[in-house]
């Protein structure tokens, strides 16, 4: 016991574990990038080794950190590690905050990420972007640990951005296919709106509370309580964080982007959209839940969005024809339930829900490519038959309504159209108005082809724009001499 007590109270040890957790994956990614730039092409084995060692090392350090902190009497570790920069009274500190909530997330990540690394090493064998995948895994791991361990909303924002960028770039992993690249663009735009909402929350928090560290601002600490922020300020902050969570956790009305995210390789889908990134928004709302105690409107909005997503996504998942798409929508439905639980104040329940859900989806996503083979295996075990449940809840509904519900679920309840009409089209129209439309001339042999740019048509769901209207004008007749 004395040894455990001395270890858990040893600041140098805790600092070292924190540094290893937050910096080791980034160091591994940097090593791989430097090797690549210098012209050395490391073999797959070396890439996997470097990545596994750094990521697993970070996971082990994180697990040890969480365990030691939980053994402390206060179950907390709150420390400013260094000041990144300072201008007058404003300063950005790199700080760490570990409490039971972050310890649970750390435990989840510590099991999930090394498993995925090992899986990916074999799954992506002989893929051209093998090194790129593991660099982005390193960035994602760094981002996640910064997000969870960061001692302030500023730190969480840094990790949030790194996590988002790496997930987008992994969606675009197979960049020889235009569909994946275009799909990643839509996701990036959604993530960017979420990032900006979180940044707005961070900046407003500094403005109203003077400090954005978790203990100070959210009343977890001793002196400050969230009620001092005032109802309006708390509502604005709550809604800003909710917007960030909607974008990150694929909640209604932007849940459709998660289907596009399935273009990426299966390990990245499992990591981001099954385990880590999809739950980042939920974790954020659990963290800022004390803020909602003085913001009933924001709290109501959290519950509403959560329930709406749970209902619509689960119905849409049931009509999907592809395994990963169904899984993705089912994941967002569960994230919606977690959000609703958080909004209702059941944060501990939401946290356990998150843990269990993350592990389940990891297994399901990794098995998704083998789903058909698994189904055929089950069929053989059933002697050639198939399992069909005797009772469907939808059977209780009138047929007309059931048909409408089916069609609505197939169309994902029209959320895409709403987002398009409310945001994408007005923005596109404004962009078109701003820039001067002018024809583009391309030299093609002797003919001059004029491209028409006077009408902007948005890409369809596949992300491919309709072809330009072109007219071919024959060259002007030469004067005969």
């Amino acid at each position: 016991m004395d040894l455990i007590e001395s270890l858990s109270s040893s600041q140098p040890l805790l600092h070292m574990l924190t540094f290893v957790t937050m910096l080791s994956p980034a160091a591994g990614a940097l090593v791989l990038v430097l090797l690549s730039i210098s012209g050395v092409s490391p073999s797959e084995r070396w890439v996997a080794v470097v990545s596994s060692v750094t990521i697993s090392g970070a996971a082990a350090a994180a697990l040890m950190l969480a365990s030691l902190v939980m053994l402390r009497p206060t179950h907390e570790f709150d420390e400013v590690l260094w000041t990144m920069y300072q201008v007058d009274a404003y300063h950005l500190d790199v700080s760490v905050f570990v409490d039971p909530l972050s310890a649970m997330l750390i435990t989840l990540a510590a099991f999930v990420i090394p498993v995925l690394c090992r899986f990916s090493g074999r799954y992506l064998h002989r893929e051209p972007g093998y090194l790129r995948f593991f660099v982005l895994m390193g960035v994602a791991t760094t981002g996640f640990f910064w997000f969870v361990l960061g001692g302030s909303v500023d730190m969480a924002f840094i990790g949030w951005e790194l996590l988002g960028l790496s997930s987008v770039l992994l969606v675009a992993f197979f960049w020889e296919r235009s569909e994946t690249v275009v799909a990643s663009g839509r996701i990036f735009a959604t993530y960017r709106v979420a990032d900006i909402a979180l940044l707005a929350g961070v900046v407003l928090l500094h403005h109203y509370a003077g400090d954005s560290s978790w203990p100070t601002v959210l009343g977890i600490g001793r002196d400050h309580h969230t009620a001092d922020l005032g109802e309006v300020a708390a509502t604005v902050l709550g809604l800003a964080f909710l917007l960030a969570a909607i974008g990150k956790s694929a909640q209604a009305p932007v849940s459709a982007y998660i289907l596009r995210a399935m273009e990426g390789p299966t390990p990245s889908s499992a990591l981001f959209y099954g385990t880590l990134s999809i739950h980042a928004g939920v974790y954020l709302m659990i963290r800022v839940e004390p803020l909602l105690s003085n913001a009933p409107i924001a709290r109501g909005a959290v519950v509403f969005i959560g329930v709406l997503t749970a209902v619509t996504s689960s119905l849409s998942a049931r009509v999907r024809a592809d395994a990963k798409g169904a899984l993705a929508l089912a994941t967002t439905a569960q994230a919606g339930l977690m959000l609703a639980e958080t909004g209702l104040g059941f944060t501990t329940f939401a946290t356990w829900h998150l843990l269990a859900h993350g592990l389940l989806r990891l297994a399901q996503f990794l098995r998704a490519p083998s789903w058909l083979a698994d189904a055929q295996g089950r069929r053989r075990e059933l002697g050639g038959g198939t399992y069909r449940p005797a009772f469907y809840l939808e059977g209780l509904l009138p047929e007309g309504f059931r048909t409408w519900l089916y069609a609505a679920a197939l169309a994902r309840f029209g959320f895409d159209g709403v987002v398009e009409r409310l945001f994408s089209r007005p923005l596109a129209a404004l962009a078109h108005l701003v820039s001067t439309p002018r024809p583009r001339i391309r030299e093609d042999g002797g003919a001059r082809i004029t491209g028409s740019v006077f009408r902007v048509r948005l890409p369809d769901e596949t992300g491919v724009s309709p072809p330009a209207r072109t007219s071919v004008r024959p060259p002007a007749p030469r004067a005969h001499t």
Partner: protein, 406 residues
Amino acid sequence: MTLHQLFHFDAFFWWVFCIGVLEGLRFGRNEVVLRKASLSVAFRVGASEALIFALLGATTSPWVFVGLGALRLLLSRLRDGRLSWRAGVELLLVGAAMTALVVVGDVHTFSQVGARGLSMGGTWRLVILTLVTAACVFAIVPAKISNEAKMTLAAPFVLVAFARVGVPLDAVEPRLAMAAPIIGAVLSALCALWLLSAGMRANHFEPSSLVSELVMCERGVLLSFVWIGLASGERLAGVGAFIEWWAAALALLTLEASLRVRPLPKSMAFFALAMAVGIPGTTGFIAEDLLAHGLLELRPLLAALFVGVAAINAAALYLALTNLIVDAGHEHRHDSPAEGRLTAMMIVPAALTLLIGLVPRPFVATATEAREAVAPHETVDVEHPVGASWDGLPRLPLGDEAFVEQ
């Protein structure tokens, strides 16, 4: 005046000098790649560009400033064979502002601008600031996109003029000090929307013209951010503006260098995007963080506009980049490598941005000193307070009154 009195090598000079060196490297590279010039010619072109821009930052005299601007214009005329009317208009506007400063305000060195500005009279202050503001708008708007290779990316001399003249005068002319950041914010929004339009029309363009439009629009957005921070008069935002200036230089160089290479070095292109949108770990992140906090102190609406434009800019840039990648994929030949070769013009700015982004403290301290070098030192007896606090100014209805604690 002696040479020592005409040039002062303060922190602002060193800041501007480093940006000038980057721009000089770019011009030198363009000479070699586009005009197939020899290395000696490229070196001369690049060195002259860097030297003149550095001297613009060092000079204390408005007349010398205008003279150096004219010299720069003349050199570009000799280099390109024709006079850029746009650069000429900028020089005229700045020249008129400097002339008014010297003749009406009896200002012989830039350090006198703040103090002498008061005695100048409100109308003349407004005229001078309007001229310099108009020059900045003219320089930043992404027009004449086809001239991208010949234009300066991150080193327009109007920004130096604004830093030397506009920043001290802003402190004593609060009317324009409030208008200029709003104009800058609107300008940045226009540039971001233009970029979005370019990205959406990508299938209608040949790739090289899309790259030019992309680079020029992104330049417009980033330099607008710099201008907003300089014009705000707020200390945090001012420091953020200086850092954004550096971030813009590094990002634009990397963007231009990587997008012009075929096959496209996609990894570097995406990293250049990360540099431009200010992902954590890059210089842009620090700049945007300071700008957002500083602008919020000034006006919440301005800060909201700033972060909104940043979001549109990021989405638009990514859209344009993805379309370029799709185009590059269609043009890709099976016998050529999948990824383009990385060059020094890509790697060096990328490495710099990472270094500054990860170890920002000395850089931020230097930016603070550079800002101090141009901000007014003396406390001016005006109706409104000078510097970061604007408590004496009337606030817009969307200010902090809605959030007063009960």
